[in-house]
């Protein structure tokens, strides 16, 4: 990069629009903690997944027809007649699942290493905003093929707004653009599904801005003391992220080429039929824990509020966690409760996948209560009563001594 900047023309150009020195500053010389482990790969992987979704999505939109009578046929046309259309569509459908996988792992890393704590609360909030936007985008994208699950998923989820007292019904009709999920709904979902990814890109820019302003957290969770704690992002983390991207793409390719429908639902290969309700309406796997919380509450409005609260409670996490120690490595009690929360989320996932009958009902209720118990009661108490293990003096010290 420095050699490049010695070139007269480039120096002249960079002096007027400093793209090169900016790139140098933020992607090459940018100081990153020297002790980041592979859990720190998921951020760049999420970025890769977002780019893959946007690129495949733009090409798919060139062939897709957002009309209730033609959407399903146009998707089959993509699968059969468009050159490599099957590849684009399977990349996009599986890409959505893989985007959620890496983002959930990215969030889990933040939870484990306390990345949400001061001074990174705004960084954390922006990440949650991205998650909410992703959820909206994924939901509307799933509606576009206009299969049975598309239609009934859209019906169930939009109907949630009818739980709002007084203005619920008008809101739902406003969302639908009519008196039922129909062509108007499909059209607006297509429009928004095209728009929101670019809004996500915008929030990602803010997310990275906040990150570069306060720098990365690290596995020890301690503040940096000086330049000896850092190494330049390039080449150390560019190559590490490249290796991570390779592993990600291999796993992605296995699903994409050998089990492309594994994470989908067979019913979505049946064209939407407003007169036939599927036996079990199930959302995509990445919504299952939230779906379980929704159904755990016997009251509709209560269920909707609980589901909304399950995400919004995460915005308060920096203050609900009263411990000043970031990394779970030095928090012997918190560590156990972190894994309990992960198990709780998996249990909720299973509850969401199964019909709400038999033991699944009390199980999902217990798991829902535990979810809120963890954030509202356990986290503050653990922070107050836990005796953390001694922290190292600096990032560099334990590393350089060893």
């Amino acid at each position: 990069m420095q050699a490049l900047l010695n070139n007269g023309f480039i120096r002249w150009f960079d002096n007027r629009l400093p793209v090169l020195s900016w790139t140098n500053h933020h992607m090459m010389e940018y100081p990153a903690p020297r002790n980041l482990n592979y859990a720190w790969n998921f951020g760049s992987l999420a970025g890769l997944a977002l780019v893959l979704q946007i690129v495949t999505g733009i090409v798919l939109a060139m062939h897709y027809t957002p009309h209730a009578d033609m959407a399903f046929d146009s998707v089959e046309r993509i699968m059969r007649d468009v050159n490599y259309g099957w590849l684009l569509r399977y990349m996009h459908a599986n890409g959505a699942s893989f985007f959620f996988i890496v983002v959930y792992l990215h969030i889990a890393r933040g939870l484990y290493y306390g990345s949400y704590k001061a001074p990174r609360e705004v960084l954390w909030w922006l990440g949650l905003v991205i998650l909410l936007l992703m959820m909206a985008t994924a939901f509307m994208g799933y509606v576009l093929p206009w299969g049975q699950m598309s239609f009934w998923g859209a019906t169930v989820i939009t109907n949630l707004f009818s739980a709002i007292p007084l203005i619920g019904e008008p809101i739902v009709q406003w969302l639908w653009g009519g008196f039922a999920v129909g062509n108007a709904t499909l059209n607006r979902f297509f429009s928004l599904h095209f728009l929101l990814p670019f809004v996500i890109v915008g929030v990602v820019v803010l997310h990275l801005w906040a990150l570069h302003h306060k720098k990365s957290n690290n596995p020890l969770g301690i503040d940096y003391k000086g330049p000896q704690d850092f190494i330049p992002f390039h080449p150390y983390y560019t190559i590490k992220d490249a290796f991570g991207a390779g592993v990600f793409l291999i796993l992605f390719a296995i699903f994409l080429f050998y089990a492309p429908n594994y994470m989908g639902h067979p019913d979505n290969y049946i064209p939407a039929d407003p007169l036939v309700t599927p036996a079990h309406i199930v959302p995509e796997w990445y919504f299952l824990p939230f779906y379980a919380i929704l159904r755990a509450i016997p009251d509709k409005l209560g269920g909707v509020l609980a589901m909304g609260a399950s995400i919004f409670i995460l915005f308060l996490l920096p203050w609900l966690d009263t411990s000043r120690i970031r990394s779970a490595t030095f928090r012997p009690v918190f560590k156990w409760f972190f894994w309990l929360l992960m198990i709780d989320l998996v249990v909720l996932g299973f509850c969401g996948a199964n019909p709400p009958e038999g033991f699944w009902v009390p199980l999902s209720q217990v798991a829902t209560v535990y979810y809120f118990l963890h954030f509202l009661i356990l986290l503050p108490l653990i922070g107050w009563f836990e005796r953390p293990r001694p922290l190292p003096d600096s990032i560099a010290k334990p590393v350089l001594k060893a």
Partner: protein, 252 residues
């Protein structure tokens, strides 16, 4: 750290598996299909036999609207054979110079038409039940081809009679009852290659054919996938070696 990633990955992958839990119907036995596995491909001879079963039996009630006649060239038919098959079907033509609707012989670029002019006519001829289009049935049902094979090849009792509701007992159908009368009986079709047309043979062949109809790009997908994954393995290996080399002098 390794444990952290592995545990999270394990947790995440457990969830989708349950989304496929079947309902109250019997799970069909697993058949060993030629298109299973990483190197699986369609058995052309089987697909041609399956096409004969579809045309001889299923097509009496079921359309195949996403499969065009010319697509059959991919399973080994010549252009002339495709034209000859298409010529057996009648499709809607343009309006004539008086503005009246016309019909014409199907051409290779047409899709297999439904035998009924519309859903109402289809229902009227089938005691109220609508025979579904079969283009995607191998993907729109849990267990796909295994399900089709079990449903039409194993599910009906011998000399099955409809119950009082006009439905036939079939444990592989959701709810255990199906409106479709047993479609297959021995020698329902005569195979061009002389294979004995038993119910088992026909149900297997037509299931494979319907899998091809639902997923015609399966072979291209698996072939490309193999190359992509081999390429990625080499690339990722190189990245790993570079990473080791670059980090060799960094204490971390």
């Amino acid at each position: 750290m390794k444990r952290f990633i592995l545990s999270l990955a394990a947790l995440a992958f457990l969830v989708p598996a349950t989304a496929h839990a079947a309902g109250d119907q019997e799970v069909p036995p697993e058949h060993h299909w030629s298109f299973n596995g990483i190197f699986g491909t369609y058995d052309r001879a089987q697909l041609l036999r399956g096409l004969e079963v579809y045309r001889g039996v299923c097509a009496n009630c079921h359309g195949l609207k996403y499969v065009r006649f010319r697509d059959l060239e991919a399973i080994g038919l010549s252009e002339d054979e495709v034209k000859a098959i298409a010529a057996n079907y009648t499709v809607e033509g343009d309006v004539d110079s008086f503005g009246d609707p016309t019909t014409r012989e199907a051409k290779p670029f047409d899709a297999f038409p439904s035998p009924f002019p519309n859903d109402e006519a289809a229902r009227a001829s089938n005691g109220g039940a609508l025979p579904i289009d079969l283009s995607l049935v191998a993907k729109s049902r849990v267990h796909g081809p295994d399900y089709i094979h079990a449903l039409i090849g194993l599910g009906y009792e011998e000399n099955a009679e409809p119950g009082p509701t006009g439905l036939y007992h079939n444990p592989y159908m959701a709810g255990g009852y199906i409106a479709m009368p047993p479609p297959l009986f021995d020698d329902a079709v005569e195979y061009h290659d002389g294979t004995a047309a038993t119910v088992e043979q026909m149900s297997t062949d037509v299931s494979a054919f319907l899998m091809w109809a639902a997923e015609p790009k399966l072979e291209a997908r698996k072939a490309i996938g193999l190359k992509v994954i081999l390429f990625l393995l080499v690339l990722t290996g190189l990245f790993y070696v570079c990473k080791r080399k670059l980090w060799a002098n960094v204490e971390h």
